[in-house]
């Protein structure tokens, strides 16, 4: 997409919005061409009971309205993105489970937060695993994790790490939104993205940081940035 920079540039927020949008401007357009209105009907039923049918009004140019399952070629990129998300969710899920099992978190309020986040992450793992399978892909395996030092560091270090991981997770989803071709997968990713945002804000607040560290506009992270940041928590 060619950017027409007619906007007055004195406005910081708007400039930030522009900056957010630079990556891979073409992929969503390709998706809209391919998917038309039908999308991967049925493939993601778990997510979309609540999304209703009215948002399926993209107008394909005279194509048959019959739903087409996503073909391998069309959704390889999406499968890779879902597997990327799944890897992160595995990591998060393992982290909270290990934290809860460790008994290191003794404050009941924090314990309750950790438990509810842990439940969310497990649900994300299940849903993303099912999604990859339904798309005909092979779900990414749970990585071997290395949280021992963090957990041994006690509640403060645990909370700080949890906050970092959640902020990173939210940024990771945001960084992929524009790359997702299938509309239903995008809807699923968005529904998880904001859940991670909730987690991140609450953990930030719990450690005395701003719930909105980027201000009014959350910043995305690239796959490369995210993988680099989580590397210390993954055993080779």
């Amino acid at each position: 997409m060619s950017k027409t920079r007619t906007r007055e540039q004195g406005d910081g927020e708007v400039a930030a919005l522009d900056q957010l949008a630079r990556e891979d401007a073409g992929s969503r357009a390709q998706f809209l061409k391919m998917v038309g209105g039908a999308g991967a009907a049925g493939a993601l039923a778990i997510f979309f009971a609540a999304c209703g049918g009215d948002d399926e009004e993209e107008k394909p140019s005279g194509d048959s309205p019959a739903p087409k399952p996503p073909s391998g070629g069309a959704s390889k990129g999406d499968i890779a993105i879902v597997n990327y998300a799944l890897t992160l969710e595995h990591l998060e899920s393992a982290f909270y489970q290990q934290v809860l099992e460790s008994g290191e978190v003794k404050d009941p309020k924090i314990g309750e937060i950790a438990k509810s986040i842990s439940e969310d992450e497990m649900e994300h793992v299940s849903a993303l695993t099912a999604t990859v399978k339904q798309l005909g892909g092979k779900p990414a395996p749970a990585p071997k994790t290395a949280f021992e030092d963090v957990i041994a560091g006690g509640p403060q270090m645990i909370l700080e790490t949890a906050a970092s991981v959640e902020n990173l997770g939210a940024a990771a989803y945001l960084g992929q939104a524009g790359n997702i071709k299938n509309k239903e997968i995008l809807a699923a990713a968005l529904s998880i993205h904001s859940n991670e945002g909730r987690h991140a804000a609450v953990l930030n607040q719990a450690i005395g940081k701003s719930p909105v560290p980027d201000g009014a506009f959350a910043k995305p992270a690239t796959m490369e940035e995210v993988l680099k940041a989580v590397k210390p928590f993954i055993k080779a």
Partner: protein
Amino acid sequence: MSKTMTQPELAAIEVKGMTREAFIMRGAIAAGGVYGLSTVGPFVGQAMAQGGGGDLDILNFALTLEFLEGAFYTMAVKSTKGLTGDAKEVATTLRDNELEHVDALTATIKDLGGKPVKAPGVDFGDAFASQDSFLELAQTFEDLGVGAYNGAGPMIEAVEVLAAAGSIVQVEARHAGVIRLLRGERIAPSAFDKGLEMQEVLDAAKPFIKA
């Protein structure tokens, strides 16, 4: 960012980040003028005009909600009885964020050649009678905002607009989380923040909008 075009020769033409098709459609809507959603008032009617067609309509729909939230927190910070401590600090931060969203959406709509909706008249009833009642309505608005953006997201055509909406919805979700924390509620009602349809959102927002 071109949608599927019935006339391929037009597909390559973009008008300030919109497809020509969307651009023409928007012109037609502007000329049409009247949208019949009298029950929710002209502001929301304007935002709803196209019933899910086109990024500008989605942006105006979002702007209406942000106006509502911006007004809500502005009033809350000024007049909520007994607002103190973390709740006051959070309310102030949220107010600032929502007002920035208003500014950014307004600028984006203008940049795309559209006409930003005006701020709706608002009525929040007794919400500011206490910190608790303020936080309760804040939770409603933030959860609603998350659902609204998540519902609209997959309908967005321009990748820039999607990125902006994603950036904003994460902040709305952060608001929702921290408000829920302050209220001692579970921080997420579900592991998946379902997208809401525009009409659901408007129905929920309607009691707080004065025509």
